[in-house]
Amino acid sequence: MAEVLVYVDHVDGAVRKPTLELLTLARRIGEPVALALGAGAEATAAVLAEHGAVKVLTADAPEFSDYLVVPKVDALQAAYDAVSPAAVLVPSSAEGKEIAARLAVRIGSGIITDAIDLEAGDEGPVATQAAFAASFTTKSRVSKGTPVITVKPNSAPVEAAPAAGTVEALAVTFGALATGTKVTSRTPRESTGRPELTEAAIVVSGGRGVNGAENFHIIEALADSLGAAVGASRAAVDAGWYPHSNQVGQTGKSVSPQLYIASGISGAIQHRAGMQTSKTIVAINKDAEAPIFDLVDYGVVGDLFAVVPQLTDEIKARKG
């Protein structure tokens, strides 16, 4: 069976959920071979094996953290050369897309980004994508070279599928460009203890209607009652009420949770672009004409300062 190369996103050996989803998709096309780089690479093997990786290639070198993107491309290319896979799958993070794109141009292959589904086809894997702020769904494939495809979080279920997961060290030689962009310092983002925005099953977002950083605790309390991640509209981020890393939309994160709750958000096209594929959408807005209501499964026309705390209390009461 053909092998499919899967690029692993992990933090010090802890594999992030989108990578496990990639393994589910990879198994539809062939046998997953995983590539894990950097500190803790070998520690990823057990989880990857549990989810279907027949082999786990690993490499660690200071270059991966000291320089931007290119050393990882060199490693992915080395893995590509070693495996000759039928396809290369990479998580659709900002960095993942850059790594995938540079590999694609090096190996003379077409690239598809931000797939939301993937299936085997007669002429190679067929990717589903959302276009124009998710108002269209397209099906595409790579017509030249080995398909390189980046896949968004929440595009497939995580499935157990035990496989060998044999660990093999990968030899990587860095090219001249690898040390072009130096990372001179790195400030890790502080953990909030809440789920990762793009991976969360439930996202609770606040917009301009929240009217101040000091009021965002109302949104956070609702999120915590549901075990949800917190999102924000660009208006709320630009006003400095919430960090940019929590922005949902075209220039923020694109989310596709089971449930999306928007409070005080009008539903501009650029916001929709990042949340329109959510399974269930709920909105609270005092303006009955707000475009967000065109998307909702359930909407409450009302003041979020009354509705949201009541909702939070009711959820807590029901959960006991």
Binding site: E98, A101, S135
Partner: protein, 261 residues
């Protein structure tokens, strides 16, 4: 020596218009008004600020696109860029990111550069991969997704806010930079700027001038194929209630029904 900055700008259909695909499954660029991609305005703005700080700099704006794409160049010129290059050729219709990056790379090399600046993503394709591909093709450092950027003594530095960390980056020129919409509001063209733009040079290049064969670009030269595009069915109308004191409780009821609680 003068700092030569090339800014890549894209002409895109207005996102607030009714965007559609054409029969050959390319973006319909005829029925929706086009404009300079808002995300590329940030690239033009940073180029202007970098040029202001430099002793001597020249900003060239570059676009690959149809006839109307000149509008995008005019806007960038009226913001303050010095000159423009428009790569236009009938064979370019349907070109994907690999083809577009090839054309841009050849045009940038022909124009001559020390610094290339792009937006973070185009508002129509939204792939956000062109900057990385362009850096690969040009063989220069990629310093991408910056929310802050500075150029001093032939070195570009900037801040990249990633998912798990905020990184400070550094590279020597020549380099390629992409900037996010967090890099600072773009200026509005002044009346004077708009008048001055009319006199600024706009060169047109075709594929032959760039020594690119027609089968390297266009639908035929595309390395990806779109098999279908279907409009997402409108979401079925949901329940909308007016809060009269119990709205939060009603909503909790809905969430319980849907098994979220």
């Amino acid at each position: 020596m003068s700092l030569r900055i090339v800014v890549c700008v894209k002409y895109v259909p207005d996102a607030t218009g009714d965007r559609q695909f054409t029969e050959d499954l390319t973006v319909n660029r005829d029925d929706v008004d086009g404009l300079l991609s808002e995300l590329d305005e940030y690239a033009v703005e940073q180029a202007l600020q970098i040029a202001d700080e430099a002793d001597d700099a020249e900003i060239t704006v570059l676009t690959v696109g149809p006839e109307d794409a000149k509008d995008a160049l005019r806007k960038a010129l009226s913001m303050g860029a010095d000159k423009a290059i428009h790569v236009e050729d009938d064979d370019l219709h349907g070109t994907d990111v690999m083809g577009t990056s090839l054309v841009l790379a050849k045009a940038i090399e022909k124009a001559g550069y020390d610094l290339v600046i792009t937006g973070m993503a185009s508002t129509d394709g939204t792939m956000g991969v062109l900057p990385a591909i362009l850096a690969e093709r040009l063989g220069v450092p990629q310093v991408t997704l910056l929310s802050e950027v500075k150029v001093e003594d032939g070195v570009v530095t900037g801040r990249r806010d990633g998912d798990s960390a905020s990184e400070q980056l550094e590279a020597s020129l020549p380099a390629l930079v992409s900037v996010t919409d967090q890099s600072g509001e773009a200026r509005y063209p002044s009346f004077k700027g708009i008048m001055a733009a009319k006199k600024k040079p706009v060169q047109s290049w075709d594929l032959e001038e760039l020594e690119i064969e027609s089968d390297e670009v266009g639908l035929e030269g595309s390395w990806t194929a779109v098999d279908s595009a279907t409009q997402r069915p409108a979401r079925t109308a949901g329940t909308i209630v007016k809060d009269e004191g119990e709205g939060g409780k009603a909503l909790a009821g809905f969430l319980a029904e849907q098994k979220f609680i």
